[in-house]
């Protein structure tokens, strides 16, 4: 029988969903530090996450670098400040674009893949099969994937930033002859230790978000194949939404510290 204090099914489901997500995340932290650690599976998943996204991140990072440089040059030329271009690009890419572009690509590619994979395992009873074989499916499937995304996405973001800077350098070099070393030196001149730390912390948080959201949606998939599609879709939408919120919060915190 429904509780008499329940005033709306939708609101009720919304809050019980938040509670379930909280319990899921808490369970992750409880299980992550308990043996067995399934290191081999973590390494497998790191390769999966990294290799799956590498080509797309390389291409996107390169294009972002070129386009951003092309768009910024005319504005700086108006003020005769084209020499500031490498610094501007460095700040934009390392502090914001690199981590954000990587996170959004991985939310789409890795988040949906985790959601669909676990969702299909749920609806075809593969997760139940693990459980009845005395294997902890949460530890084997969820913990390993979340650790893998948390560790791999910062590395991918760093790689994306370097590729974007290289794209930018090629564009600068096409317009005016300059050495790559002096371009990178100028780009990093205005980047502080706090900026690098903030970027790394951001990407760690994004990686954790992508992993936990993908796993949560997949692990609780229902309604057969339709549920699998829904889980993959929701994993992407929710992860992207949370990434933007986290971006705002982390930038605010970094500014307060500064």
């Amino acid at each position: 029988m429904r509780n008499k204090y329940t005033f709306s099914k939708g609101v009720d489901e919304y809050f019980s969903g938040i509670h379930k997500a909280y319990l899921f995340t808490a369970l992750f932290f409880r299980e992550a530090f308990k043996k067995p650690f399934h290191l081999r599976e973590v390494i497998n998943q790191c390769f999966e996450v990294g290799l799956k996204s590498l080509a797309l991140i390389s291409l996107t990072g390169f294009i972002v670098g070129i386009v951003f440089t092309k768009q910024s040059r005319p504005s700086l030329e108006d003020f005769g400040a084209t020499s500031w271009l490498p610094s501007l690009i460095g700040i934009a890419i390392i502090k914001a674009l690199g981590p954000l572009v990587t996170a959004l690509i991985c939310a789409g590619k890795v988040g949906s893949s985790i959601g669909a994979e676990l969702g299909s395992m749920r609806v075809t009873e593969q997760i139940d099969a693990m459980e009845v074989s005395a294997i902890n499916p949460f530890k084997y499937l969820v913990v390993t994937r979340v650790i893998a995304t948390t560790l791999t996405i910062p590395v991918l973001a760093l790689y994306c930033s370097f590729v974007a800077l290289y794209g930018s350098y090629l564009n600068v070099h096409a317009e005016e002859t300059s050495s790559m070393i002096s371009f990178y030196q100028s780009a990093f001149k205005t980047i502080s230790f706090l900026d690098i730390t903030t970027s790394v912390v951001k990407t760690l948080v994004y990686g954790f978000t992508i992993g936990i959201v993908g796993c949560y949606k997949g692990y609780h998939a229902t309604q057969g194949t339709r549920g699998v599609g829904k889980a993959a879709n929701q994993a992407v939408v929710l992860a992207m939404f949370l990434i933007f919120i986290e971006e705002v919060i982390i930038v605010q915190i970094a500014n307060w510290i500064r």
Binding site: S120, M121, T124, E125, A129, V132, S133, A134, I135
Partner: protein
């Protein structure tokens, strides 16, 4: 078809004992007071229409679902009162064959079989694992499928590999969920034969969930007819179907007896 060898069954040595079991999902009452005993060395087929709670019953036995009320004792343990470690120790002694086999899509046949073994018996070396895999594949007659992926197997082969995966942990109790559903009559007969061979070779006691009378008749010592959440009749094939009950008669009439 090789029939089940009738063995003397000690009626005081029960491996599963269920009393007053109730289970509902929301407002839907599925099990309404089940009393049941499975004795050591016997096979019992649980018959009933789709949606009567047959699969729910074995999921409660293996601890995948929790009962609302009632007592479920498996191999001397109250399943619903066990801690996760104790429950896993018990699950190793129970084999669960899923309706759709639930083979791990991302693993080949060898990996599917070795996975539960390597996760539960960490001290085994590669040679011992290989030998165990070979032994169960031989038991199900599929030694040539070692490197194949589950998607490359036929329905009957998937069922056999699913059974082999449970046998690798040498269970004392086997739970079969619709072992012949979706199979042609010849493959069904082969699966029934395999169930009987497993009982003889591995000395298991089994619960076979089915709505297939041929399977029930040829693979079990006793039958239990589940209707409207309760066992209407429990006994040998002739005892159960020698009745004037309209529902039981209707169930009989719609099935083809070999």
């Amino acid at each position: 078809m090789k029939k089940l060898k009738q063995r003397s069954i000690n009626k005081e040595d029960s491996v599963i004992s269920i009393s007053g079991l109730y289970k509902s999902f929301g407002d839907l009452e599925v099990l309404k007071g089940i009393d049941f005993k499975l004795f050591k060395g016997e096979n019992v087929a649980v018959l009933g229409k789709s949606g009567t709670g047959k699969s729910v019953l074995i999921k409660i036995i293996v601890g995948l679902l929790k009962p609302d009320r009632g007592e479920v004792v498996v191999l001397g343990h109250h399943v619903d009162q066990l801690e996760s470690k104790e429950l896993n120790a018990l699950r190793i002694r129970i084999g669960f064959s899923f309706q759709n086999s639930a083979l791990y899509d991302s693993m080949n046949v060898y990996q599917n079989l070795a996975f539960p073994l390597t996760m539960n018996r960490k001290n085994l070396n590669k040679k011992e694992v290989d030998e165990a895999v070979e032994e169960v594949l031989e038991a199900v007659g599929l030694t040539d499928k070692l490197k194949q992926m589950p998607s490359d197997l036929s329905g009957g082969q998937r069922k056999r590999i699913g059974i082999a995966r449970t046998l690798i942990l040498k269970p004392e109790i086997m739970l079969y969920d619709e072992p012949t559903s979706g199979l042609d009559p010849i493959t069904s007969a082969e699966i029934i034969e395999l169930i009987n061979e497993v009982q003889q070779k591995y000395n298991t006691s089994s619960v076979i969930i089915t709505h297939d009378l041929t399977c029930a008749k040829n693979s079990s010592n006793r039958l239990a007819m589940l209707l409207e959440g309760k066992f209407l009749k429990v006994g040998t094939f002739d005892e159960v179907f020698d009745t004037n009950d309209e529902q039981v008669k209707a169930f009989f009439d719609y099935n083809f007896i070999q």
